[in-house]
Symmetry: D5
Subunit: 94 residues, 10 copies
Amino acid sequence: MEFLVSIEVRLPQSMTEPERTRLAAAEAERAAELAAQGTLLRVWRVPGRRANRGLWSAPDATALHAALCSLPLWPYLEIEVQALAAHPSDPGPR
Amino acid sequence: MEFLVSIEVRLPQSMTEPERTRLAAAEAERAAELAAQGTLLRVWRVPGRRANRGLWSAPDATALHAALCSLPLWPYLEIEVQALAAHPSDPGPR
Amino acid sequence: MEFLVSIEVRLPQSMTEPERTRLAAAEAERAAELAAQGTLLRVWRVPGRRANRGLWSAPDATALHAALCSLPLWPYLEIEVQALAAHPSDPGPR
Amino acid sequence: MEFLVSIEVRLPQSMTEPERTRLAAAEAERAAELAAQGTLLRVWRVPGRRANRGLWSAPDATALHAALCSLPLWPYLEIEVQALAAHPSDPGPR
Amino acid sequence: MEFLVSIEVRLPQSMTEPERTRLAAAEAERAAELAAQGTLLRVWRVPGRRANRGLWSAPDATALHAALCSLPLWPYLEIEVQALAAHPSDPGPR
Amino acid sequence: MEFLVSIEVRLPQSMTEPERTRLAAAEAERAAELAAQGTLLRVWRVPGRRANRGLWSAPDATALHAALCSLPLWPYLEIEVQALAAHPSDPGPR
Amino acid sequence: MEFLVSIEVRLPQSMTEPERTRLAAAEAERAAELAAQGTLLRVWRVPGRRANRGLWSAPDATALHAALCSLPLWPYLEIEVQALAAHPSDPGPR
Amino acid sequence: MEFLVSIEVRLPQSMTEPERTRLAAAEAERAAELAAQGTLLRVWRVPGRRANRGLWSAPDATALHAALCSLPLWPYLEIEVQALAAHPSDPGPR
Amino acid sequence: MEFLVSIEVRLPQSMTEPERTRLAAAEAERAAELAAQGTLLRVWRVPGRRANRGLWSAPDATALHAALCSLPLWPYLEIEVQALAAHPSDPGPR
Amino acid sequence: MEFLVSIEVRLPQSMTEPERTRLAAAEAERAAELAAQGTLLRVWRVPGRRANRGLWSAPDATALHAALCSLPLWPYLEIEVQALAAHPSDPGPR
């Protein structure tokens, strides 16, 4: 099942630059793992914001929640999930 | 350039069933053309609603607008477009 | 997988009383079928409104959409779906 | 009387990990008590968020408020309550 | 149990003046009955609008819904219900 | 003139428990005075929230503002005021 | 007591031009009367919209409601009223 | 040109009482100057809130912005500006 | 003075195709006149919608309102106006 | 491709005056560079707010994001981007 996931990143002003750098690297690494296992299918930046829109795949909402919680930035993320149903005109993931 | 397009379908109550059927067929045909030419990349139904979320590709917003206007259902669509920027963690369209 | 489904009923003012009565009976019948097959688990009225909140179960969003479309009142419903994930403190459906 | 309760958890960034762990354990314990006494009927996670949706039962809004205040996380919760009326198509709590 | 009920009246433009007058009279009569039986405790106009805010009393949300449905204007009303809990500083209905 | 007053209490996380207790006692005392002088007619808790809805009486908005400012919790309150007009179906304050 | 009144005019598409002209003239006449009696103090157009913002004076919300209802356009108006309190820095109506 | 200006005051909880008193005095003094020079025409308190609605006059939005920035409380103000157009029924500033 | 003007076009479903064509031509002609006289500086389509965002210049809000009212589509437009102030970093209209 | 960019500046209360001055100077310098290279076409202040509306030009959303991130105030900006399509009535940038 696919999900459209909207994420806004809310880093506290008090976070130091090294901590931000460290977290960003860990986040990229974890995203690569989730992509490799087919959970994170696509992700885009929302221009002008620390935010992204992503296409995720998971057996159900419980598994999706576990994947999202595994992100190192998780404590700082504001997330909205839209469950997606199949559309007859979908060209498919190719 | 990719765009996230949110579409709500607002068919007037007065539209007859045959007209709906005819329009739906024409819409599916046009969607197939747009998919074949690489403009409509993915599309999903929003469960419970006559609505969809789609991933579209177009050179710019002007070309995207032309593609959306070419949909037979266009006069009845309520559309929101979100321009997307590349994200370093995007696994890509594969 | 469970879903929280919010439904507002928007009957056109032009609908005749007999048509309303007929539709309400058909709706109740279909709801009973969906309940019998375990798709509609619970449903409540929102006090003061032609609206309900329901707990639905379906394999995924595509199956849920099919179930919602099968409601006789479907053309007149405004629906929001919230996918639900398991919570460790859930006493369960008993 | 049943209520649909929407809870968002807003833990302060300054809360230490041990304090979070301690509170989560106390919360789970209290939730179990409320479930055992028939006040908390069902609860689900909202995927991607520290949030839940729950089905609660209480004699009235005053008793429900007392139950919600008894949660250890109470000072950090943002809560919306929707009173529910019986629906003739409800399969019941079975 | 008390409820704060917000009602907006949405009469169709096509309703004739005699029908409006007839409905207004029936509404006032039914309101008087609900007041006499202790269901409608207080009601105020929202200045500038065909709208009111009311304090209602009913055993639960199901009974409140039945009372609201009994209003002759019911098909034209947009209603929001807020369940109320007791407050220790309430001077009481006196 | 009567007013419907909606109050959300936003206590800072840094406030100590003794200070909260002291403020709550002072608030209850002031509310009792305002009730005694006929300014605070009714007040209810919004279930699940540090919030209340109240029915206030004051000669005009200026006097109401003065009464609200006199609450010890005033610096922490988020307040919305709805001026109320008389409704012909109001059973009255009894 | 003064009130800030926000009015959006929603004329039905079906209204004929002569009817619009007649109503506009009647509205202007009634506005002049309300201004002469000191109820309508100031009124401005919201640029780009059939809408206005006005400063009104009335003994209380009930009297204000009566004044607003007396407008010939009343059945087509969407109105929001903000009760105003005196401000120590107000230069006054001069 | 006239403007309707909505101001919400957001003082930080950390501001000391003497600083608040000093700022309030400076604000009143600057408001008096702006009133004297015909920039601030009227101002009202929103009952129950540290907020006001004001009628301002300035040659254009740039001049209005300069006037608003000159307020001592400026760093703590949340401001919305509505440009106003002349209305034929306006009784005028007298 | 410059204004940012947001326009949504709401054509009634009942409007015939010839009437739409005639109105669109008249609108384009009037827009050209407003551009020629320096009132309409720039205008863009919002992709996917019958809507536009425009940069307008007018002595004040009253003159802007007159210009907007002169559009043949005016009865069908939903308009929001944002007054603009000069910014020191503006490269200017060049 | 052109974009309409809405920016709200959210400086933390804890930022010192010298830091604000230094950042404002760096921001103006960077804005001048972006204007010189044709990325920032126009920018206006929203009267009464630390906010601006700007017209930006960039090959696509990815390039626009890079330009916005290059602003020294970037960590404190809340940004909304609206992609713009060509309009046949646009007088053009002259």
